[in-house]
């Protein structure tokens, strides 16, 4: 028995020795909602993150010529899966930092139970809940997408400017829907609008007619749906249209999905508008658009710019921090604080030289400048979209 134990111990030691050779590849986690309600958005987001990784590897690799490897994990847009996926990435794969998870609830769970205790820096490209701002995270949680606090408020102001003063709000009962809905309600009411119905709903149900009837009872003719267009948001929109509960429909970024156009038809969506974050026109955005189109991606897909930026910035931060995970978050602030030599998407070789020479750099991302504030948030720009043909078209910039 004793020999067996010693043998097992020796085998374990051997395994750890094998697992950590001197020049290991550098791994970062790519956690996304590959299955679950945002499964339709996730592939493009992962593709754009992988674009950043392949650019790094093609231009000389990371640190002393090592390969950067993206370890994909499925956070399934829910807290349990996100915790599992983050645990696996941090403890088994030994990632140095994480891009993701994609959904707000997943970010909060993964951060609180795994990455904050482990001191691993995470950058979410799409977790937009205001709750993320207030995490006690030792400065390890960042995002390249603006908080829904901005979006909810901007949407409220834009609707009031457009003359809509009475709305009903249906939101998905999760961190994303709730955060956005609360921000919207606060601003809408403060600026003199009337909320004639405000109700959460569970996702993945078959029938929402009673929910809609309840909301319509308030007398509003505009319904604000803060949900996912591939999930229950689509079901709600369909049943509201079919039964004539409301005339006008307004969605948040989650509703700006192709699924409603594909399944309901553009003809039926003439009264549907949605807000979504947009990249400000910049050289950086054009560089990214070209690079992403070249690998067959659609640069207009939602959150691809933020996913790319999150990945590229983490690569820059790791290069600067020298593969020490405890220094990544400080380095992340240094490579994009508005001061230093500008670096555009894909300019890895140039950035690598500057970092080696000790020159300050400033990453200008496809989705924005990404100068993080104290909470690790970035300010945002939004636009209002309407359905035109088989896609969405900008109708107004939002303040």
């Amino acid at each position: 028995m004793k020999t067996l134990r010693i043998a097992a111990l020796a085998a374990l030691l051997g395994a750890t020795a094998l697992a950590a050779p001197a020049h290991a590849d550098v791994k970062i986690g790519l956690l996304g909602g590959i299955s679950g309600p945002i499964a339709a958005m996730a592939p493009a987001m992962i593709d754009s993150a992988n674009l950043a990784i392949s650019q790094v590897n093609e231009a000389g690799g990371i640190l002393d010529g090592r390969k950067l490897i993206g370890v994909v994990g499925d956070s399934a847009c829910n807290p349990q899966n996100a915790t599992d996926a983050a645990t696996k990435a941090v403890n088994l794969e030994g990632v140095i930092a994480i891009v993701g998870p994609h959904c707000s609830g997943a970010v909060l769970a993964a951060a609180n139970s795994v990455t904050i205790p482990a001191g691993v820096t995470i950058v979410t490209p799409s977790g937009t809940s205001p709750e993320i701002t207030t995490l006690q995270d030792n400065d390890t949680v960042f995002r390249t997408v603006p908080s829904d606090d901005y979006q909810g408020r901007a949407l409220a102001r834009t609707l009031l400017e457009r003359g809509t003063t009475k709305v009903a709000v249906a939101y998905l009962n999760n961190d994303y829907g709730k955060g956005l809905a609360e921000a919207f309600r606060a601003e809408f009411e403060e600026k003199g609008g009337e909320i004639a119905g405000f109700a959460a709903h569970e996702g993945e149900r078959a029938s929402y007619r009673s929910n809609l009837a309840d909301l319509a009872a308030g007398g509003a003719d505009t319904l604000v749906i803060l949900d996912y267009g591939d999930g229950s948001g689509l079901t709600m929109l369909r049943q509201a249209l079919e039964n004539g509960f409301f005339e006008n429909f307004v969605g948040g970024d989650g509703m700006k999905s192709d699924a409603p156009i594909r399944e309901l038809g553009a003809d039926n969506l003439t009264t549907f508008i949605a807000s979504a974050p947009v990249g400000q026109q910049s050289d950086a955005l054009e560089v990214f658009n070209k690079a992403f189109s070249d690998i067959g991606g659609d640069p207009n897909a939602i959150f691809v710019t933020t996913s790319y930026d999150a990945t590229f910035m983490l690569a820059l931060a790791i290069e600067k921090a020298g593969a020490d995970k405890s220094k990544v978050s400080a380095a992340l602030r240094e490579i994009s604080n508005g001061e230093g030599e500008p670096i555009l998407p894909g300019e890895w070789a140039k950035a690598k030289e500057l970092i080696a020479a000790g020159t300050a750099i400033d990453y200008r991302g496809a989705a924005g400048e990404h100068n993080f504030d104290e909470a690790g948030d970035v300010p945002g720009a939004y636009a209002l979209f309407k359905v035109s043909g088989s896609t969405f078209e900008v109708i107004a910039e939002m303040e």
Partner: protein
């Protein structure tokens, strides 16, 4: 709120969704009665049936009603295949092993659906259908067909169980397996027949769910709990109980929005299940098994 609105926006959707629950609950109750375990892959088999019908609709360009029998037949074959491959092997072991195995089967079936058809929401026919107005009651053709089809399938099943030789054999197995085996009932054939019927009913539930709402990889899984609640509410082992249970759960879910905040709608099935197990564990119609 007028009476007509309550009928249109609470009762009618409740009956439609209740009919779909009923179709699923009948299958669950049959498995419970004859094979004596909870089959957790039931919802995902329904998903598979719905997507098989989608394949027939897209490849053959036919209406979903034509695709329904095809989907029912193929899903029945798949159900028999799953039983042969996984459950038959575990038949002599404690039933809980099979229950856990069925959870694994659920994940596998769902994964196959996700690989073959993807994870996007899909529909049999694009666009929207506004309901017809029948003397103030707003109902769509497909809702009417869903309810009628459910009634038709259940009546056919009841007649089969009551009068045919094999139906009697199934009932005998359900009442007393040992006695049935001693009197020469072929266990293998009864199991085969059960899975054929259960698979076909699963597919019907899935197709009608997809027809009335949308097709999603998770659609069946999220139906599993209300379907189990319906089966237990009606009395496990009673086909007519499952139908009654399905309708009650469906209507209660929709009606709950009248008195409770809508985010608690999904919890209604849990509440009914809990209450029933506390007050009358045998179910409304005195189930034969539990």
């Amino acid at each position: 709120m007028g009476a007509m609105e309550i009928v249109n926006f609470y009762l009618v959707p409740g009956i439609v969704v209740g009919s779909i629950y009923a179709l699923g609950a009948v299958g669950i109750t049959l498995v419970f009665a004859i094979l004596r375990y909870a089959h957790l892959a039931h919802g995902d088999l329904a998903t598979l049936g719905a997507f098989l019908a989608l394949a027939v609709v897209t490849l053959g360009g036919v209406s979903p009603y034509v695709a329904l029998p095809v989907a029912m037949a193929v899903t029945a074959a798949v159900a028999v295949g799953i039983d042969r491959t996984f459950y038959a092997y575990l038949r002599e072991r404690p039933k809980i092993v099979t229950v856990m195995a069925s959870l694994g089967v659920a994940l596998m079936v769902r994964a196959v659906v996700q690989i073959v058809w993807g994870v996007d929401s899909q529909t049999y026919t694009r666009g929207i259908v506004r309901p017809e107005n029948w003397f103030g009651i707003r109902i769509r053709d497909r809702e009417l067909i869903t309810v009628l089809a459910m009634v038709g399938l259940v009546v056919a099943l009841q007649l089969f169980l009551k009068y045919s030789k094999w139906g009697k054999a199934m009932r005998a197995m359900s009442d007393n397996p040992d006695l049935a085996l001693l009197s020469g009932v072929d266990n293998r054939k009864v199991v085969l027949l059960t899975w054929t019927i259960v698979g076909a009913l699963c597919a019907a539930a899935g197709v009608f769910l997809g027809l009335n709402y949308e097709l999603k990889a998770m659609m069946g899984w999220s139906m599993l709990l209300p379907m189990f609640a319906a089966a237990i509410l009606g009395g496990v082992g009673r086909v007519e109980g499952a139908v009654l249970g399905g309708l009650i759960v469906g209507i209660a879910e929709e009606m709950s929005a009248l008195v409770l905040p809508t985010e608690y709608k999904a919890a209604t099935a849990f509440a009914i299940l809990l209450l029933m197990l506390l007050v009358r564990p045998t179910g409304l119609l005195k189930g034969k098994v539990l």
